[in-house]
């Protein structure tokens, strides 16, 4: 099996798995096990892909191209760059953990649930490896369907409003993107991303950017974030904030900036201002949220702002830092939301008023939450710190005040994350915290521990991503040269 | 072509069509509405035949015949409806049959 088929297998294996899991009338346990099998197979395949990927060679690797609409110049064109290897890795690992959590929690209607999760995996991987605008759009939309059903059916009390708002926001953005894609494709006579020419049209750039800015929420467009993150089941929120949000940021990196260099530089200050606003606004609101998921939701809004800051800084450090931060934050917010799920399973609520004092008698939960919480607030030495440091150093070269705002946000991050840790673990025992509530079970630990292990490994060696995302010594030049 | 040329036939057809439309618009008895509908169809038919004669192309007449077939089927269904309404003892008045509304 030559490497070039690997990318397509990575996309279509989970989709096939989804169909299989959906159709086979198996028991709850067997369906879950089968789904887990597919997810872990997916992780294994990714490791194979990462191993085969030759970081010293420029350009697209493991590429596969098949005619789709010949005359329009649309082709099923998939391939992987350095940074997409890492994002695919993040996707498969996070999805495996989320599927495992769903399996552990024992969701009802398991066949539908696991089929949708696997479908979501396939679609997300598809987004990160699509090298053709139409294929990219197809997968970008395909992500939405399973999410809609997952939140709508298995969500919390007010799930329907949240789902509708989520879909409305995302559809609004992606329809505009579709228009931009069509316009771009016809104008350039090809929809291909690799050999498509750069265009100077500001409207197309704004069309793309709107979809990406809604998907990875930046400041004014995050209306859907709080409700969706609160109402979705914890593992879906974990995937939503950890992985799906990265699709928007990946879109900026892969499409918006290289394909529209002049508009990107024209709107640079505007987007940087937007990103900085998201960073500060998210941190402030996280500081004053009243429940577990609220804090983490707004902190992921802040982190998206930070990553966007890195991307639009346009400097070498900025790009590398953004990719590293995408992966690091993906792992962090996935584990944080899973821990939120663990807490909610024991106390049926995430409200801080009712929580507190969970650390006594539950050392595993305390260590886990403190470890992940501390990494997420970017304590120097953690992967998040490496990412933030690179981003802010990169954006500093652009203009010193962005870095100053970023540094301020680091202090805010410390404030809200410590508030979260002590509200859940320390102080007097909350009313809903029963004494006999168990510590983190081995099953749950087996899900969250790999993510934390990944984070620790990334903290020990952040250069694994920051130095192996873009070919050569200058990411900015690679992006300007459209990844040739 | 003896006698009046095609334009006149068209004028008659137009008038016939207008009268049919008026009938449909004003009358409340569904039967009369169906009849005036027939009038409109005939108006149309006349125009078709006139053009067929004018461009001496058979399609017009074929079309005319088809229109006749369609008219026949339409009447069949229309009358079926009227019979059904009648059996249900509903008032045979178009304005009073207005449950189906937004």
């Amino acid at each position: 099996m030559s490497a070039s088929y690997l990318t397509s297998i990575l996309i279509w294996l989970p989709v096939a798995g989804a169909i299989l899991v959906w159709l086979l009338p198996l028991s709850r346990y067997a369906t879950g096990a089968l789904a887990m099998l597919f997810s872990l197979a997916e992780v294994g395949l990714w490791i194979e892909q990462a191993a085969r990927f030759d970081f010293s060679r420029p350009g697209l690797q493991m590429e596969e191209r098949a005619r789709w609409f010949g005359d329009l110049g649309v082709s099923y064109h998939v391939g992987v760059y350095g940074f997409s290897v890492w994002l695919v890795g993040l996707t498969v690992v996070a999805m495996a953990a989320a599927t495992g959590y769903g399996f552990w929690v024992g969701r009802d209607r398991p066949r539908g649930y696991f089929a949708l999760m696997l479908l979501l995996t396939g679609a997300t991987v598809g987004v990160f490896v699509a090298q053709d605008l139409v294929v990219f759009y197809a997968f970008f939309e395909a992500m939405l369907i399973p999410l809609y059903v997952l939140i709508g059916v298995w969500g919390g009390a007010r799930r329907m409003d949240a789902t509708i708002k989520f879909v409305l926001y995302t559809m609004a953005g992606s329809l505009l993107m579709l228009a931009a894609i069509v316009a771009y494709g016809l104008q350039a006579h090809t929809f291909d991303l690799v050999d498509g020419p750069a265009s100077g049209s500001r409207w197309l750039f704004l069309g793309f950017m709107l979809a990406f800015v809604i998907k990875a929420p930046l400041f004014p467009f995050h209306g859907w974030l709080p409700d969706t993150y609160r109402e979705a089941p914890p593992e879906v929120t974990a995937v939503l904030s950890g992985v799906i949000a990265k699709a928007g940021l990946y879109g900026m990196l892969r499409i918006a900036i290289p394909k529209f260099p002049d508009p990107a530089s024209f709107y640079r200050t505007a987007v940087l201002a937007l990103a900085a606003a998201a960073l500060v606004y998210g941190s402030l609101l996280a500081f004053r949220s009243t429940d577990f998921r609220g804090v983490v939701a707004y902190s992921s809004l802040a982190q998206s702002g930070l990553i966007a800051l890195g991307l639009f800084a346009g400097t070498d450090l900025g790009f590398d830092g953004a990719v590293l931060q995408m992966v690091a934050h993906g792992l962090v917010s996935t584990s944080l939301f899973l821990i939120a799920g663990v807490v909610e399973r024991r106390t049926t609520t995430g409200e801080f008023r009712l929580l507190g004092g969970m650390a006594r008698g539950r050392p595993a939960l305390a260590t886990l939450l403190i470890a992940v919480g501390v990494i997420s607030l970017a304590v120097p030495g953690s992967a998040n710190f490496a990412g933030e440091f690179l981003i802010l150093a990169g954006v500093f070269q652009r203009a010193w005040w962005w870095a100053a705002i970023g540094a301020g946000a680091i202090v805010l991050a410390a404030m809200y994350m410590l508030r979260l840790i002590s509200a859940v673990l320390h102080d007097a025992r909350g009313s809903t915290v029963a004494d006999e509530a168990l510590d983190v079970r081995p099953g749950e630990l087996a899900l969250i521990a790999p993510l934390v292990a990944g984070l620790l490994l990334l903290s020990a060696w952040p250069a694994a991503i920051s130095h192996h995302s873009f070919f050569g010594n200058s990411p900015a030049a690679t992006v300007k040269g459209q990844f040739k | 072509m003896l006698g009046p040329d095609t334009a006149w036939y068209l004028v008659v057809a137009a008038f016939l069509f207008g009268i049919g439309a008026l009938g449909v618009l004003i009358r409340r008895n569904p039967l009369i509405v169906l009849l005036s509908l027939e009038l409109m169809l005939n108006g149309g038919n006349l125009a078709l035949i006139a053009f067929s004669r004018h461009f001496h192309n058979g399609a017009g007449q074929i079309f005319g015949l088809t229109v006749m077939a369609v008219a026949a089927s339409e009447v069949c269904v229309g009358l079926g409806l009227v019979v059904a309404i009648n059996r249900k003892k509903l008032p045979l008045d178009v304005d009073r049959l207005s449950e189906l509304r937004g």
């Binding site: - | 095609t6 207008g18 006349l46 088809t66 089927s73 009447v75 069949c76």
Partner: protein, 187 residues
């Protein structure tokens, strides 16, 4: 050219009679209170139309018109009217509500536009043209046309008729209430 004009005058005379009777019966159709008389007026209208078709060398269509249309359709009408019973209702009751006023306005506007369209076109495209071959309008000619050029239209019309027939049967038939299934048959 007198002889020609004489034939012409006869045709004009026939046309005038047919036209007048056609419009008069049209007005009659929509104005009679009793639907029975309206149906009869429709027959008159159809007959005058058949004459007009003859003037336009459309013999088969005229024949079909009289036989099919007047013969079958209107008879069915009369049958239904008889079945339903000639309930009389005041056609013009309640004065010209905004409905009727609107209707008159609409029909009038439509009429005027068509006439204008015809007059506008009279100038160039509707010019007078020459003789037409003897077979024009004959049943054989129509038959060949149907089975050669417009076979598809022919087939589709048959399907439409079939559907209408089925529709009519269902609507018309008196649906007996189906007895409830006996209890022992598991639902």
């Amino acid at each position: 050219m007198i002889v020609a004009s004489a034939g012409n005058v006869v045709v004009w005379m026939v046309w005038l009679v047919a036209g007048f009777s056609c419009l008069a019966s049209g007005v009659a159709v929509i104005s009679f209170r009793n639907p029975f008389f309206s149906a009869l007026a429709l027959i008159g209208n159809l007959a005058s139309l058949a004459v007009m078709y003859l003037l336009l060398n459309a013999e088969f269509v005229a024949a079909a018109q009289v036989l099919v249309y007047a013969g079958a359709v209107v008879v069915m009408f009369l049958f239904v009217i008889a079945y339903v019973g000639p309930r009389r209702e005041e056609p013009w009751t309640g004065g010209p509500s905004w409905q009727t006023l609107g209707a008159v306005l609409a029909a009038g506007a439509l009429l005027v536009e068509i006439v204008v369209a015809i007059s506008l076109d009279a100038g160039h495209s509707l010019g007078h043209d020459g003789k037409v071959g003897p077979t024009f309008g004959s049943p054989a000619w129509i038959g060949r046309l149907f089975l050669v050029d417009h076979l598809l239209a022919f087939e589709i019309t048959s399907v439409v008729l079939l559907i209408a027939a089925v529709g009519g049967v269902i609507l018309g038939s008196h649906v007996r209430r189906v007895e409830p299934l006996t209890s022992e048959v598991a639902d």
